[in-house]
Amino acid sequence: MGMTMAEKILASHSGRESVSPGEYVTAEIDVMMGNDITFADACRNLVDIGLTSFADPDKVVVCNDHRIPAMTARDAELQTRLREYAAQFGVKYFYDAGVGIEHTVLPEKGHAHPGHLIIGADSHTTTYGALAAAATGMGASELAYSMYKGSNWFQVPETINFVLEGDLAAGVSSKDVMLALLGKHTADKAQYMSIEFTGSGAAAMSVEARMTMSNIGVEMGAKFAMFAADDKTIAYLATRTDAKIEHFGPDADAVYVETHHMDCANLEPQVAFPHNPDNVKSISEVGDVPVQQAFIGSCTNSRTEDLERAAVILRGRKVAPGTRLLVIPSSQEVMMNVTKSGVLNDLVQAGAMIAPPGCGPCGGGSTGVLGAGENGIASTNRNFKGRMGSPDAFNHLASPETVAASAIEGKIADPRKYLN
Protein backbone atom coordinates (compact mmCIF):
# COMPACT_ATOMS: atom_id res chain seq x y z
CA MET A 1 0.00 0.00 0.00
CA GLY A 2 1.31 3.45 -0.87
CA MET A 3 2.27 6.05 1.70
CA THR A 4 1.61 9.76 2.08
CA MET A 5 4.52 12.12 2.67
CA ALA A 6 3.94 12.09 6.42
CA GLU A 7 3.92 8.28 6.49
CA LYS A 8 7.07 8.04 4.37
CA ILE A 9 8.96 10.44 6.61
CA LEU A 10 7.86 8.88 9.90
CA ALA A 11 8.70 5.42 8.55
CA SER A 12 12.16 6.37 7.33
CA HIS A 13 12.95 8.17 10.61
CA SER A 14 11.87 5.29 12.82
CA GLY A 15 13.66 2.54 10.91
CA ARG A 16 10.49 0.99 9.51
CA GLU A 17 9.51 -0.21 6.07
CA SER A 18 6.11 1.32 6.44
CA VAL A 19 3.77 2.86 9.01
CA SER A 20 0.02 3.35 9.17
CA PRO A 21 -2.13 6.12 10.67
CA GLY A 22 -2.75 5.71 14.40
CA GLU A 23 0.54 3.92 15.12
CA TYR A 24 3.00 5.40 17.57
CA VAL A 25 6.66 5.51 16.57
CA THR A 26 9.85 6.83 18.09
CA ALA A 27 11.54 8.82 15.35
CA GLU A 28 14.92 10.51 14.92
CA ILE A 29 14.57 14.24 14.36
CA ASP A 30 16.59 16.17 11.75
CA VAL A 31 16.15 19.71 13.05
CA MET A 32 14.95 21.07 16.41
CA MET A 33 14.09 24.73 16.73
CA GLY A 34 13.66 26.95 19.76
CA ASN A 35 13.12 30.69 20.12
CA ASP A 36 13.39 33.43 22.71
CA ILE A 37 10.13 32.29 24.30
CA THR A 38 10.92 28.59 24.54
CA PHE A 39 14.61 27.71 24.17
CA ALA A 40 15.90 29.03 27.49
CA ASP A 41 13.02 27.32 29.34
CA ALA A 42 13.87 24.06 27.60
CA CYS A 43 17.55 24.36 28.57
CA ARG A 44 16.71 25.28 32.16
CA ASN A 45 14.53 22.16 32.38
CA LEU A 46 17.56 20.07 31.37
CA VAL A 47 20.04 21.84 33.61
CA ASP A 48 17.63 21.47 36.56
CA ILE A 49 17.90 17.71 36.32
CA GLY A 50 21.64 17.75 35.73
CA LEU A 51 21.69 17.31 31.93
CA THR A 52 24.03 19.68 30.14
CA SER A 53 24.36 18.42 26.59
CA PHE A 54 22.30 17.77 23.45
CA ALA A 55 22.38 14.60 21.39
CA ASP A 56 23.68 16.69 18.47
CA PRO A 57 23.89 20.48 18.91
CA ASP A 58 24.26 20.94 15.15
CA LYS A 59 20.67 19.77 14.72
CA VAL A 60 19.46 22.57 16.95
CA VAL A 61 18.56 26.00 15.55
CA VAL A 62 17.76 28.94 17.82
CA CYS A 63 16.16 32.22 16.79
CA ASN A 64 15.77 35.36 18.85
CA ASP A 65 12.73 36.86 17.19
CA HIS A 66 9.63 37.34 19.33
CA ARG A 67 10.50 40.23 21.61
CA ILE A 68 13.12 42.12 19.69
CA PRO A 69 14.42 44.71 20.06
CA ALA A 70 13.80 44.33 23.78
CA MET A 71 11.20 46.79 25.08
CA THR A 72 11.78 46.13 28.76
CA ALA A 73 14.84 45.38 30.85
CA ARG A 74 13.25 42.04 31.69
CA ASP A 75 13.02 41.07 28.02
CA ALA A 76 16.64 42.10 27.50
CA GLU A 77 17.71 39.94 30.43
CA LEU A 78 15.72 36.96 29.12
CA GLN A 79 17.61 37.36 25.87
CA THR A 80 20.90 37.35 27.74
CA ARG A 81 19.87 33.97 29.21
CA LEU A 82 19.06 32.78 25.70
CA ARG A 83 22.54 33.65 24.45
CA GLU A 84 24.17 32.06 27.48
CA TYR A 85 22.29 28.80 27.06
CA ALA A 86 22.98 28.70 23.32
CA ALA A 87 26.69 29.06 24.07
CA GLN A 88 26.64 26.56 26.96
CA PHE A 89 25.03 23.85 24.84
CA GLY A 90 27.25 24.56 21.83
CA VAL A 91 24.56 25.75 19.42
CA LYS A 92 26.21 26.75 16.16
CA TYR A 93 23.06 27.94 14.41
CA PHE A 94 22.04 30.78 16.66
CA TYR A 95 20.26 33.63 14.87
CA ASP A 96 20.17 36.61 17.14
CA ALA A 97 17.87 39.65 17.12
CA GLY A 98 17.50 41.19 13.68
CA VAL A 99 18.18 38.13 11.54
CA GLY A 100 14.46 37.50 11.29
CA ILE A 101 11.49 35.37 12.25
CA GLU A 102 12.31 31.69 12.74
CA HIS A 103 9.89 30.45 10.07
CA THR A 104 11.43 32.72 7.46
CA VAL A 105 14.98 32.18 8.66
CA LEU A 106 15.09 28.36 8.79
CA PRO A 107 14.14 27.98 5.11
CA GLU A 108 16.37 30.92 4.09
CA LYS A 109 19.39 29.49 5.84
CA GLY A 110 18.83 26.08 4.29
CA HIS A 111 17.87 24.15 7.44
CA ALA A 112 14.61 22.66 6.14
CA HIS A 113 14.85 20.00 3.42
CA PRO A 114 12.37 17.75 1.64
CA GLY A 115 11.94 14.54 3.61
CA HIS A 116 13.13 16.05 6.89
CA LEU A 117 11.40 15.50 10.21
CA ILE A 118 11.51 18.82 12.05
CA ILE A 119 10.13 19.94 15.38
CA GLY A 120 10.00 23.46 16.75
CA ALA A 121 8.82 24.87 20.04
CA ASP A 122 6.42 27.08 18.10
CA SER A 123 3.13 26.14 16.53
CA HIS A 124 3.86 27.62 13.10
CA THR A 125 6.73 25.18 12.59
CA THR A 126 4.34 23.65 10.03
CA THR A 127 5.70 26.32 7.63
CA TYR A 128 8.55 24.04 6.49
CA GLY A 129 5.96 21.72 4.98
CA ALA A 130 6.20 24.10 2.03
CA LEU A 131 9.59 22.47 1.42
CA ALA A 132 8.16 18.96 1.84
CA ALA A 133 9.40 18.59 5.40
CA ALA A 134 7.23 16.96 8.06
CA ALA A 135 7.46 19.82 10.52
CA THR A 136 5.41 20.39 13.64
CA GLY A 137 5.20 22.34 16.87
CA MET A 138 5.71 21.15 20.44
CA GLY A 139 6.16 22.81 23.82
CA ALA A 140 9.32 23.71 25.71
CA SER A 141 9.62 20.50 27.78
CA GLU A 142 9.28 18.39 24.68
CA LEU A 143 11.88 20.50 22.92
CA ALA A 144 14.15 19.78 25.88
CA TYR A 145 13.42 16.07 25.68
CA SER A 146 13.98 16.01 21.91
CA MET A 147 17.24 17.96 22.02
CA TYR A 148 18.62 15.66 24.70
CA LYS A 149 17.50 12.40 23.08
CA GLY A 150 17.60 13.40 19.40
CA SER A 151 14.24 11.67 19.01
CA ASN A 152 10.68 11.72 20.31
CA TRP A 153 7.36 9.90 20.01
CA PHE A 154 5.00 10.63 17.15
CA GLN A 155 1.59 9.32 16.30
CA VAL A 156 1.32 8.65 12.58
CA PRO A 157 -1.39 11.06 11.36
CA GLU A 158 -4.06 10.47 8.79
CA THR A 159 -3.60 12.67 5.74
CA ILE A 160 -6.16 14.98 4.18
CA ASN A 161 -5.68 15.97 0.55
CA PHE A 162 -6.62 19.47 -0.60
CA VAL A 163 -6.56 19.51 -4.38
CA LEU A 164 -6.16 23.09 -5.62
CA GLU A 165 -7.21 23.80 -9.18
CA GLY A 166 -7.37 26.85 -11.42
CA ASP A 167 -5.27 30.01 -11.59
CA LEU A 168 -5.61 32.75 -9.00
CA ALA A 169 -6.88 36.12 -10.26
CA ALA A 170 -4.69 39.23 -9.92
CA GLY A 171 -4.89 40.59 -6.36
CA VAL A 172 -5.72 37.15 -4.94
CA SER A 173 -3.00 35.09 -3.29
CA SER A 174 -2.30 31.89 -1.40
CA LYS A 175 -3.39 33.64 1.83
CA ASP A 176 -6.87 33.98 0.37
CA VAL A 177 -6.88 30.31 -0.63
CA MET A 178 -5.98 29.27 2.90
CA LEU A 179 -8.49 31.61 4.55
CA ALA A 180 -11.18 30.31 2.20
CA LEU A 181 -10.30 26.72 3.15
CA LEU A 182 -10.44 27.65 6.83
CA GLY A 183 -13.79 29.39 6.43
CA LYS A 184 -15.23 26.41 4.65
CA HIS A 185 -13.75 23.59 6.71
CA THR A 186 -13.30 25.35 10.13
CA ALA A 187 -10.52 25.43 12.67
CA ASP A 188 -10.42 21.76 13.64
CA LYS A 189 -10.91 20.14 10.25
CA ALA A 190 -7.37 18.79 10.11
CA GLN A 191 -6.93 18.20 13.85
CA TYR A 192 -4.11 15.63 14.38
CA MET A 193 -3.87 15.21 10.59
CA SER A 194 -1.26 15.89 7.99
CA ILE A 195 -2.39 18.07 5.09
CA GLU A 196 -1.10 17.65 1.56
CA PHE A 197 -1.74 20.46 -0.89
CA THR A 198 -1.81 19.03 -4.39
CA GLY A 199 -3.15 19.80 -7.85
CA SER A 200 -2.23 22.34 -10.52
CA GLY A 201 -2.93 25.24 -8.15
CA ALA A 202 -0.36 23.96 -5.66
CA ALA A 203 2.18 23.34 -8.40
CA ALA A 204 1.67 26.88 -9.72
CA MET A 205 2.44 28.52 -6.36
CA SER A 206 5.87 29.94 -5.60
CA VAL A 207 7.76 28.48 -2.64
CA GLU A 208 7.01 31.62 -0.63
CA ALA A 209 3.29 31.37 -1.41
CA ARG A 210 3.39 27.75 -0.28
CA MET A 211 4.99 28.80 3.01
CA THR A 212 1.97 31.01 3.72
CA MET A 213 -0.34 28.02 3.24
CA SER A 214 1.75 25.61 5.33
CA ASN A 215 2.10 28.25 8.04
CA ILE A 216 -1.66 28.66 8.48
CA GLY A 217 -2.20 24.93 8.19
CA VAL A 218 -1.88 24.81 11.96
CA GLU A 219 -4.95 27.06 12.29
CA MET A 220 -6.87 24.12 10.87
CA GLY A 221 -5.33 21.95 13.58
CA ALA A 222 -2.85 20.26 11.25
CA LYS A 223 0.21 18.45 12.53
CA PHE A 224 1.98 18.82 9.17
CA ALA A 225 0.94 20.92 6.14
CA MET A 226 2.94 19.80 3.15
CA PHE A 227 3.64 20.39 -0.53
CA ALA A 228 5.59 17.93 -2.65
CA ALA A 229 9.14 19.00 -3.51
CA ASP A 230 9.42 19.95 -7.18
CA ASP A 231 11.80 21.95 -9.37
CA LYS A 232 10.81 25.14 -7.53
CA THR A 233 11.80 23.61 -4.21
CA ILE A 234 15.13 22.53 -5.65
CA ALA A 235 15.73 26.00 -7.11
CA TYR A 236 14.81 27.68 -3.80
CA LEU A 237 17.30 25.59 -1.83
CA ALA A 238 20.04 25.51 -4.48
CA THR A 239 21.99 28.46 -3.09
CA ARG A 240 21.05 27.77 0.53
CA THR A 241 22.49 24.34 1.27
CA ASP A 242 25.20 22.00 0.04
CA ALA A 243 22.93 19.00 0.56
CA LYS A 244 21.59 17.29 -2.54
CA ILE A 245 17.91 18.21 -2.81
CA GLU A 246 15.65 15.93 -4.79
CA HIS A 247 12.00 15.65 -5.73
CA PHE A 248 9.93 14.19 -2.91
CA GLY A 249 6.23 13.42 -2.82
CA PRO A 250 3.60 10.92 -1.79
CA ASP A 251 3.31 7.50 -3.44
CA ALA A 252 0.91 7.49 -6.38
CA ASP A 253 -1.34 5.08 -4.48
CA ALA A 254 -1.14 6.88 -1.12
CA VAL A 255 -4.30 6.64 0.95
CA TYR A 256 -6.03 9.83 2.11
CA VAL A 257 -8.67 10.00 4.80
CA GLU A 258 -10.44 12.76 2.85
CA THR A 259 -9.93 14.58 -0.42
CA HIS A 260 -11.36 18.04 -1.12
CA HIS A 261 -11.19 20.00 -4.33
CA MET A 262 -11.03 23.76 -4.46
CA ASP A 263 -11.41 25.96 -7.50
CA CYS A 264 -9.01 28.86 -7.05
CA ALA A 265 -9.98 30.63 -10.28
CA ASN A 266 -13.14 32.25 -8.94
CA LEU A 267 -11.78 33.15 -5.54
CA GLU A 268 -12.13 36.71 -4.19
CA PRO A 269 -9.87 38.24 -1.52
CA GLN A 270 -10.85 36.86 1.89
CA VAL A 271 -10.96 38.42 5.35
CA ALA A 272 -11.10 36.61 8.72
CA PHE A 273 -13.21 38.53 11.22
CA PRO A 274 -12.75 38.65 15.01
CA HIS A 275 -11.92 36.53 16.86
CA ASN A 276 -11.04 33.37 14.96
CA PRO A 277 -9.11 32.62 11.76
CA ASP A 278 -12.01 30.53 10.48
CA ASN A 279 -14.56 33.35 10.78
CA VAL A 280 -14.06 34.21 7.12
CA LYS A 281 -15.93 36.42 4.63
CA SER A 282 -15.30 37.23 0.99
CA ILE A 283 -14.34 40.85 0.44
CA SER A 284 -17.64 41.59 -1.32
CA GLU A 285 -19.55 40.67 1.87
CA VAL A 286 -17.43 42.74 4.24
CA GLY A 287 -19.27 46.08 4.28
CA ASP A 288 -17.90 49.18 5.96
CA VAL A 289 -15.24 48.30 8.54
CA PRO A 290 -12.92 51.18 9.49
CA VAL A 291 -9.39 50.22 10.60
CA GLN A 292 -7.02 52.20 12.78
CA GLN A 293 -4.04 49.95 12.15
CA ALA A 294 -2.94 47.95 9.13
CA PHE A 295 -0.05 45.57 9.74
CA ILE A 296 1.99 43.73 7.13
CA GLY A 297 4.27 41.35 8.94
CA SER A 298 4.70 37.95 10.61
CA CYS A 299 5.94 34.53 9.56
CA THR A 300 2.80 34.13 7.44
CA ASN A 301 3.05 36.99 4.98
CA SER A 302 6.04 39.26 5.12
CA ARG A 303 8.50 37.71 2.74
CA THR A 304 9.94 39.44 -0.32
CA GLU A 305 7.06 38.61 -2.66
CA ASP A 306 4.50 39.67 -0.05
CA LEU A 307 6.05 43.11 0.29
CA GLU A 308 6.39 43.42 -3.48
CA ARG A 309 2.69 42.73 -3.93
CA ALA A 310 1.77 45.21 -1.21
CA ALA A 311 4.01 47.83 -2.82
CA VAL A 312 2.22 47.46 -6.14
CA ILE A 313 -0.97 48.58 -4.37
CA LEU A 314 0.67 51.35 -2.33
CA ARG A 315 3.02 52.81 -4.96
CA GLY A 316 2.17 56.47 -5.53
CA ARG A 317 -0.65 56.40 -2.96
CA LYS A 318 -0.93 57.44 0.68
CA VAL A 319 -2.09 55.79 3.87
CA ALA A 320 -5.42 57.33 4.98
CA PRO A 321 -5.36 59.92 7.76
CA GLY A 322 -6.39 58.29 11.02
CA THR A 323 -4.94 54.94 9.95
CA ARG A 324 -1.39 53.76 10.58
CA LEU A 325 0.44 51.25 8.42
CA LEU A 326 3.15 49.15 10.05
CA VAL A 327 5.41 46.98 7.91
CA ILE A 328 7.87 44.50 9.40
CA PRO A 329 9.90 42.56 6.84
CA SER A 330 10.26 39.06 8.20
CA SER A 331 14.03 38.78 7.86
CA GLN A 332 17.24 40.62 7.14
CA GLU A 333 17.37 38.93 3.74
CA VAL A 334 13.88 40.24 2.94
CA MET A 335 14.90 43.67 4.21
CA MET A 336 17.90 43.66 1.88
CA ASN A 337 15.82 42.49 -1.08
CA VAL A 338 13.21 45.21 -0.67
CA THR A 339 15.86 47.83 -0.06
CA LYS A 340 17.64 46.97 -3.30
CA SER A 341 14.47 46.70 -5.36
CA GLY A 342 13.01 50.02 -4.24
CA VAL A 343 9.98 48.34 -2.68
CA LEU A 344 10.93 49.66 0.74
CA ASN A 345 11.07 53.16 -0.68
CA ASP A 346 7.53 52.77 -2.10
CA LEU A 347 6.24 51.63 1.27
CA VAL A 348 7.87 54.48 3.19
CA GLN A 349 6.68 57.03 0.63
CA ALA A 350 3.15 55.80 1.10
CA GLY A 351 3.50 56.51 4.80
CA ALA A 352 4.41 53.10 6.23
CA MET A 353 6.30 52.75 9.49
CA ILE A 354 9.06 50.15 9.19
CA ALA A 355 10.28 48.11 12.16
CA PRO A 356 13.23 45.68 12.37
CA PRO A 357 12.76 42.05 11.26
CA GLY A 358 11.00 40.01 13.95
CA CYS A 359 7.55 39.02 15.12
CA GLY A 360 6.56 42.55 16.10
CA PRO A 361 3.03 42.76 17.51
CA CYS A 362 1.85 39.46 15.96
CA GLY A 363 1.97 37.53 19.23
CA GLY A 364 1.57 40.65 21.35
CA GLY A 365 5.28 40.57 22.21
CA SER A 366 6.61 43.76 20.67
CA THR A 367 5.90 47.07 18.93
CA GLY A 368 2.54 47.82 17.34
CA VAL A 369 -0.20 46.26 19.49
CA LEU A 370 -3.85 47.38 19.36
CA GLY A 371 -5.66 49.33 22.06
CA ALA A 372 -9.16 48.75 23.43
CA GLY A 373 -11.87 49.51 20.89
CA GLU A 374 -9.47 49.61 17.93
CA ASN A 375 -9.91 47.69 14.69
CA GLY A 376 -6.87 46.19 13.04
CA ILE A 377 -6.23 44.34 9.82
CA ALA A 378 -3.11 42.20 9.64
CA SER A 379 -1.36 39.80 7.29
CA THR A 380 -0.78 37.48 10.27
CA ASN A 381 -2.29 34.08 11.07
CA ARG A 382 -4.32 34.46 14.28
CA ASN A 383 -6.85 37.03 15.39
CA PHE A 384 -7.64 35.49 18.76
CA LYS A 385 -9.15 37.89 21.27
CA GLY A 386 -6.36 39.62 23.16
CA ARG A 387 -3.52 38.15 21.11
CA MET A 388 -2.26 41.35 19.51
CA GLY A 389 -2.79 43.75 22.38
CA SER A 390 -6.01 44.56 24.22
CA PRO A 391 -8.67 41.85 24.65
CA ASP A 392 -11.10 44.59 23.67
CA ALA A 393 -9.52 45.19 20.25
CA PHE A 394 -10.83 43.67 17.01
CA ASN A 395 -8.36 42.16 14.62
CA HIS A 396 -8.94 40.95 11.05
CA LEU A 397 -6.72 38.75 8.91
CA ALA A 398 -6.08 39.20 5.20
CA SER A 399 -3.44 39.09 2.49
CA PRO A 400 -0.73 41.77 2.27
CA GLU A 401 -2.54 43.22 -0.77
CA THR A 402 -5.80 43.55 1.13
CA VAL A 403 -4.02 45.05 4.14
CA ALA A 404 -2.34 47.58 1.82
CA ALA A 405 -5.63 48.55 0.15
CA SER A 406 -7.25 48.88 3.58
CA ALA A 407 -4.48 51.22 4.73
CA ILE A 408 -5.15 53.47 1.74
CA GLU A 409 -8.89 53.66 2.38
CA GLY A 410 -8.84 53.57 6.19
CA LYS A 411 -11.32 50.72 6.03
CA ILE A 412 -11.22 47.12 4.86
CA ALA A 413 -10.88 47.35 1.09
CA ASP A 414 -10.62 45.23 -2.04
CA PRO A 415 -7.07 45.38 -3.47
CA ARG A 416 -8.17 44.46 -6.98
CA LYS A 417 -9.36 47.97 -7.78
CA TYR A 418 -5.80 49.27 -7.36
CA LEU A 419 -4.35 46.93 -9.92
CA ASN A 420 -5.49 48.43 -13.22
Binding site: G139, Y145, Q191, G221, R382, K385, G386
Partner: protein, 168 residues
Amino acid sequence: MSISNTIVVDGKVWKFGDDINTDFMAPSFSKGMEWEQAKKTILHIHEGFTEGVAEGDVIVAGANFGCGSSRQQAPANLKMLGIGCVVAESFGRIFFRNAVAIALPVMACPGISEAFNEGDDLQLDFEKSLVKNVTQGTEMQGALMPEDLLKIVRAGGVMAVLKEEAAA
Protein backbone atom coordinates in the same frame (compact mmCIF):
# COMPACT_ATOMS: atom_id res chain seq x y z
CA MET B 1 7.24 10.27 42.24
CA SER B 2 4.66 8.01 40.66
CA ILE B 3 1.02 7.93 41.56
CA SER B 4 0.98 4.13 41.04
CA ASN B 5 -1.45 2.96 38.43
CA THR B 6 -4.48 4.80 39.64
CA ILE B 7 -4.81 8.42 38.71
CA VAL B 8 -8.28 9.36 39.92
CA VAL B 9 -9.55 12.90 39.76
CA ASP B 10 -12.72 14.17 41.41
CA GLY B 11 -13.87 17.75 41.12
CA LYS B 12 -16.45 20.38 40.36
CA VAL B 13 -17.00 21.11 36.67
CA TRP B 14 -16.39 24.37 34.83
CA LYS B 15 -17.80 24.21 31.31
CA PHE B 16 -16.29 25.71 28.19
CA GLY B 17 -17.34 25.76 24.53
CA ASP B 18 -15.46 24.96 21.30
CA ASP B 19 -12.13 26.37 20.11
CA ILE B 20 -10.85 27.59 23.49
CA ASN B 21 -7.38 28.72 22.43
CA THR B 22 -4.10 28.91 24.34
CA ASP B 23 -4.12 32.72 24.23
CA PHE B 24 -7.05 32.52 26.65
CA MET B 25 -5.06 30.33 29.06
CA ALA B 26 -1.81 32.27 28.89
CA PRO B 27 -2.61 35.72 27.45
CA SER B 28 0.27 37.76 26.10
CA PHE B 29 -1.06 40.79 27.98
CA SER B 30 -0.35 39.02 31.29
CA LYS B 31 3.35 38.76 30.46
CA GLY B 32 5.48 40.09 33.27
CA MET B 33 2.62 40.10 35.80
CA GLU B 34 3.07 38.51 39.20
CA TRP B 35 1.22 35.20 39.54
CA GLU B 36 -1.49 36.61 41.85
CA GLN B 37 -2.40 39.10 39.13
CA ALA B 38 -1.64 36.88 36.13
CA LYS B 39 -3.87 34.08 37.37
CA LYS B 40 -6.87 36.38 37.11
CA THR B 41 -6.33 36.53 33.34
CA ILE B 42 -6.48 32.76 32.81
CA LEU B 43 -9.62 31.82 30.87
CA HIS B 44 -10.95 35.34 31.43
CA ILE B 45 -13.48 34.70 28.68
CA HIS B 46 -15.63 32.60 31.02
CA GLU B 47 -17.64 34.82 33.34
CA GLY B 48 -17.06 33.98 36.99
CA PHE B 49 -14.21 31.55 36.35
CA THR B 50 -11.29 33.67 37.49
CA GLU B 51 -13.04 34.60 40.75
CA GLY B 52 -14.66 31.24 41.41
CA VAL B 53 -12.14 28.57 40.39
CA ALA B 54 -10.81 26.51 43.27
CA GLU B 55 -8.06 23.95 43.70
CA GLY B 56 -9.29 20.56 42.54
CA ASP B 57 -11.91 21.85 40.07
CA VAL B 58 -12.03 20.27 36.63
CA ILE B 59 -12.81 21.45 33.10
CA VAL B 60 -15.28 19.99 30.61
CA ALA B 61 -14.96 21.53 27.16
CA GLY B 62 -16.10 21.32 23.58
CA ALA B 63 -14.11 20.59 20.44
CA ASN B 64 -10.55 21.74 19.76
CA PHE B 65 -9.69 22.70 23.35
CA GLY B 66 -6.25 24.32 23.44
CA CYS B 67 -5.99 25.19 19.76
CA GLY B 68 -3.42 27.81 18.88
CA SER B 69 0.12 28.31 20.03
CA SER B 70 2.71 25.93 21.41
CA ARG B 71 2.98 27.77 24.71
CA GLN B 72 3.36 25.24 27.48
CA GLN B 73 2.19 27.91 29.92
CA ALA B 74 -1.35 27.09 28.76
CA PRO B 75 -1.62 23.66 30.46
CA ALA B 76 0.94 24.73 33.07
CA ASN B 77 -1.27 27.64 34.13
CA LEU B 78 -4.28 25.32 34.46
CA LYS B 79 -2.17 23.03 36.59
CA MET B 80 -0.98 25.90 38.76
CA LEU B 81 -4.59 26.96 39.28
CA GLY B 82 -5.15 23.47 40.63
CA ILE B 83 -7.30 22.16 37.76
CA GLY B 84 -7.39 18.38 38.23
CA CYS B 85 -8.11 17.35 34.66
CA VAL B 86 -9.58 18.47 31.34
CA VAL B 87 -12.10 16.30 29.54
CA ALA B 88 -13.04 17.66 26.11
CA GLU B 89 -14.78 16.60 22.91
CA SER B 90 -11.36 16.95 21.26
CA PHE B 91 -8.06 18.78 21.79
CA GLY B 92 -5.66 20.93 19.84
CA ARG B 93 -2.77 18.54 19.30
CA ILE B 94 0.06 20.66 20.71
CA PHE B 95 -1.97 21.37 23.86
CA PHE B 96 -2.62 17.66 24.24
CA ARG B 97 1.09 16.87 23.90
CA ASN B 98 2.04 19.65 26.29
CA ALA B 99 -0.48 18.42 28.86
CA VAL B 100 0.96 14.91 28.68
CA ALA B 101 4.47 16.36 28.85
CA ILE B 102 3.71 18.14 32.13
CA ALA B 103 1.40 15.43 33.50
CA LEU B 104 -1.91 17.27 33.45
CA PRO B 105 -4.53 14.54 32.95
CA VAL B 106 -6.44 15.20 29.71
CA MET B 107 -8.92 12.98 27.95
CA ALA B 108 -10.88 13.22 24.71
CA CYS B 109 -14.46 12.03 25.07
CA PRO B 110 -16.98 12.77 22.32
CA GLY B 111 -20.37 13.66 23.80
CA ILE B 112 -18.91 14.97 27.06
CA SER B 113 -20.36 18.48 26.68
CA GLU B 114 -23.90 17.13 26.69
CA ALA B 115 -23.25 14.93 29.69
CA PHE B 116 -22.30 17.68 32.15
CA ASN B 117 -23.74 20.88 33.51
CA GLU B 118 -21.51 23.45 35.11
CA GLY B 119 -21.10 22.67 38.78
CA ASP B 120 -21.67 18.92 38.41
CA ASP B 121 -19.32 16.60 40.24
CA LEU B 122 -17.01 14.78 37.80
CA GLN B 123 -14.97 11.72 38.62
CA LEU B 124 -12.29 10.53 36.20
CA ASP B 125 -10.46 7.23 36.34
CA PHE B 126 -7.66 8.36 34.08
CA GLU B 127 -6.03 4.98 33.48
CA LYS B 128 -9.32 3.45 32.37
CA SER B 129 -10.53 6.62 30.60
CA LEU B 130 -13.76 6.27 32.51
CA VAL B 131 -15.60 9.45 33.41
CA LYS B 132 -18.55 9.62 35.82
CA ASN B 133 -21.08 12.34 36.37
CA VAL B 134 -21.60 11.77 40.07
CA THR B 135 -24.33 14.42 40.24
CA GLN B 136 -26.41 12.86 37.47
CA GLY B 137 -25.35 9.26 38.03
CA THR B 138 -24.10 8.67 34.48
CA GLU B 139 -20.87 7.22 33.09
CA MET B 140 -18.95 7.53 29.81
CA GLN B 141 -15.96 5.86 28.24
CA GLY B 142 -13.34 8.17 26.68
CA ALA B 143 -10.50 7.40 24.29
CA LEU B 144 -7.90 5.15 25.91
CA MET B 145 -4.46 6.65 26.22
CA PRO B 146 -1.63 4.51 24.83
CA GLU B 147 0.57 2.92 27.48
CA ASP B 148 3.68 4.90 26.47
CA LEU B 149 1.87 8.16 27.10
CA LEU B 150 0.31 6.94 30.32
CA LYS B 151 3.82 6.18 31.53
CA ILE B 152 4.83 9.80 30.95
CA VAL B 153 1.85 11.10 32.94
CA ARG B 154 2.43 8.56 35.72
CA ALA B 155 6.08 9.56 35.98
CA GLY B 156 5.09 13.21 36.33
CA GLY B 157 5.95 14.41 32.82
CA VAL B 158 8.72 14.10 30.25
CA MET B 159 11.35 15.83 32.34
CA ALA B 160 10.70 13.35 35.15
CA VAL B 161 11.11 10.54 32.60
CA LEU B 162 14.46 11.96 31.50
CA LYS B 163 15.56 12.36 35.09
CA GLU B 164 14.77 8.73 35.85
CA GLU B 165 16.63 7.62 32.72
CA ALA B 166 19.65 9.74 33.57
CA ALA B 167 19.76 8.31 37.09
CA ALA B 168 19.46 4.72 35.84
